[in-house]
């Protein structure tokens, strides 16, 4: 059975340019289907505004969908804030980009790591204390740092605290939103390895959101590429960047500088992601696409299987 199944997810925000203009509907997530097997790591990539962070929050039920359905472990996701949703949150946790903002500055780190256990009423105070120390050791923090405050730690150590806290209730799903983007290269590698080890050891399923394709490829089994609220291509992480099919995936992969290689201007993606409030007709990518055909501005292309392990939403490359 799949751990997580999402069908037809839509999330719309209303924004207005000024007090006097009528609000505009922005579809941040626009019809997303995805599944996640237990213990699987799925990467979500795309430019800013692609809806990847919104989708991540929706998968935890923090952002309720306007349409569509999410099933966790076979049962529908309970409504946000209900007792059954709170209970389920012990099984699904989140790791954010900025650990300093995610931690309480006035609480020693061991207490913060044990807090989810207290919230979910797991164990006695001394058991929780022991668990916090064992979690600290698991994520590579020294037990003598238990009484430290977040400002006394480095950025990498703070992110380890956030990860330990997320693991406290032994969740089955971890949603990580840009967890290593704020870290220096050498520290980033430490945290990436930590996440891989934890996943191997505990079989936690992971949704890993990042704009860094190299990190996503290293951690994830499967990758979904998002453009303006939709998944445009999905494949195994071994295939998706080595043989990208969708023109947008190709452009994304080509934009990653390879250390030592000169910039090749011929592979540059032109233009910027369009405003989600003014989504182009048909395939949203067509105004920037080098393979554009007259039909691309017509119907929105559906995400269809092109091989048993790949789905693509581009009729031009599928043909």
């Amino acid at each position: 059975m799949m751990l997580l199944e999402a069908h037809g997810l839509v999330r719309t925000y209303l924004t207005r340019k000024s007090m006097f203009t009528p609000p505009e509907a922005v579809r941040a997530v626009d019809g997303v289907d995805l599944v996640l097997a237990p213990g699987e790591a799925l990467g979500l990539v795309g430019e800013s505004g692609s809806g990847k962070s919104t989708l991540g929050r929706m998968l935890l039920g923090i952002d309720p969908p306007d349409a569509g359905e999410i099933r966790f472990n076979g049962a529908p996701m309970p409504a946000l804030g209900t007792a059954s949703w709170r209970k389920l949150r012990a099984q699904m946790q989140m790791v954010f980009q900025d650990p300093l903002a995610a931690l309480d500055r006035r609480l020693p780190i061991a207490e913060q790591i044990a807090e989810p256990l207290a919230i979910h009423g797991i164990g006695t105070a001394s058991e929780r204390n022991d668990r916090a120390r064992s979690l600290m050791a698991q994520v590579g923090l020294r037990v003598d740092q238990a009484g430290r405050f977040p400002h006394e730690l480095s950025g990498g150590q703070r992110q380890r605290v956030v990860i330990a806290r997320a693991l406290a209730t032994s969740p089955r799903l971890l949603v990580c939103d840009e967890p290593v983007s704020a870290l220096d290269v050498s520290i980033q590698a430490q945290v990436v390895n930590l996440l891989r080890d934890l996943q191997d050891r505990h079989g936690i399923a992971m949704v890993f959101i990042s704009h860094d394709l190299k990190v996503v490829r290293n951690i994830c089994d499967r990758v979904a590429v998002m453009y303006l609220g939709r998944i445009v291509e999905e494949a195994s992480s071994d295939d998706i960047f080595s043989s990208p099919r969708h023109p947008y995936t190709r452009a994304l992969a080509a934009s990653v500088p390879i250390p030592g290689a000169r910039l090749d201007p011929s592979t540059l993606l032109q233009g910027e992601p369009p405003n989600p409030a003014r989504r182009p007709e048909g395939c949203a990518f067509h105004p920037r696409c080098t393979l554009m055909r007259p039909g691309c501005a017509g119907a929105v292309p559906r995400l269809l299987p092109t091989t048993p392990t790949r789905r693509s939403a581009c009729p031009v490359v599928a043909a």
């Binding site: 800013s48 190299k214 290293n218 500088p257 390879i258 250390p259 201007p265 032109q270």
Partner: protein
């Protein structure tokens, strides 16, 4: 021809030294990358050189350009150089632009200060600059405010302002870090193109070895306030010799090949208040010996043209296994 000559540049904040004597020459037209992690001093070097640090910073050494020293010269010297001969762009373009003034006015201000253009002439030149940096419909968008531009376009506006003074040297401090990879590639291409047309030199400050390799001719790697390795791009990327440089390469995941575990550099960057006695990198270095913990290696020229500050460098024959890099 040497454009800027930095000699023994040192910076201390509240008595804590953060930059320990930088020597660096920038020649006309070349692109030099400064790479390193947070706190290594790569930005402080140029903020100090251009007098942009807060007053509590104690700066010694010399930064010579056009026959004057920017460190001892004071405000009058700085103002003839800054924005004119040497321009700078930053990581976060939206906070570097004034949010309550139209971008056209901001570019026109630079044109007035550095080239004495006013009125219609300044406006025409501002349009041509915006057009040059790839802002579509420049004549109309001149009258928009910074919040009406995306992050990538704000960085283009910053580049247009920097070009307004027709600088000989552009200091680009992490100019693409806040941008998406696709937009980063566009900005890198724009900077390279502008350089080819104008012949200006560029210092590209970044933590991203990939981005540095994409645009730079020469690269200096910094660690804890010192340059530890400096070389031309090809030898540095083919065979990094300082264990820290090598560690940076090994820590980067790849977009091809096996998805193997990463090789991180253990530990963290030292606290400037508490730097190790010998080589600052020695506590994190697998090749360190007792010598490294007591003596500090100096940056010395090597036979292959690079400069290296290490007692036990990675042997020259050990190439980084990145097949196809120069294919």
């Amino acid at each position: 021809m040497t454009l800027v000559r930095i000699r023994d540049l040192r910076v201390a904040f509240d008595g804590v030294p953060v930059l320990h004597g930088i020597n660096l020459d920038i020649s006309a037209g070349e692109t030099v990358g400064l790479v390193g992690e947070s706190g290594c001093g790569k930005s402080v070097t140029w903020l100090a050189a251009l007098g942009l640090l807060p007053a509590k910073a104690r700066i010694t050494g010399t930064v010579e350009t056009a026959g004057s020293d920017l460190v001892s010269g004071g405000r009058s010297v700085l103002e003839t150089i800054r924005g004119g001969r040497i321009a700078m762009i930053f990581q976060d373009p939206s906070s570097a632009l004034n949010p309550v003034r139209r971008v056209g006015q901001q570019i026109a201000e630079a044109l007035r200060l550095h080239r004495g253009l006013r009125g219609a002439a300044a406006r025409a030149e501002a349009i041509s600059l915006l057009d040059r940096v790839g802002i579509p419909d420049a004549a109309r968008r001149l009258d928009l405010y910074p919040h009406e531009f995306s992050g990538g376009q704000c960085q283009r506006v910053m580049i247009a302002m920097a070009l307004a003074g027709q600088p000989d040297l552009l200091i680009a401090d992490e100019p693409t870090t806040a941008l998406d990879a696709t937009i980063q590639a566009q900005i890198l291409a724009l900077l390279t193109e502008v350089q080819r047309e104008t012949g200006m030199a560029m210092v590209f400050i970044s933590h991203d070895l990939g981005a540095v390799g994409a645009v730079c001719d020469r690269v200096a790697v910094m660690y804890a306030g010192r340059i530890v390795e400096e070389a031309r791009r090809e030898p540095l990327f083919a065979a990094p010799r300082h264990p820290y440089t090598r560690g940076l390469f090994d820590a980067i995941p790849r977009l091809d090949g096996p998805r193997s575990r990463l090789v991180p550099i253990p530990g963290t960057v030292p606290d400037p208040k508490n730097t190790p006695a010998g080589c600052a990198f020695s506590p994190r270095c697998a090749r360190a010996t007792s010598l490294c913990a007591s003596e500090r290696p100096t940056l010395l020229p090597q036979s292959d043209g690079r400069a290296l500050a290490c007692f036990h460098p990675v042997p020259a024959a050990t190439l980084v296994s990145r097949e196809g890099v120069f294919a």
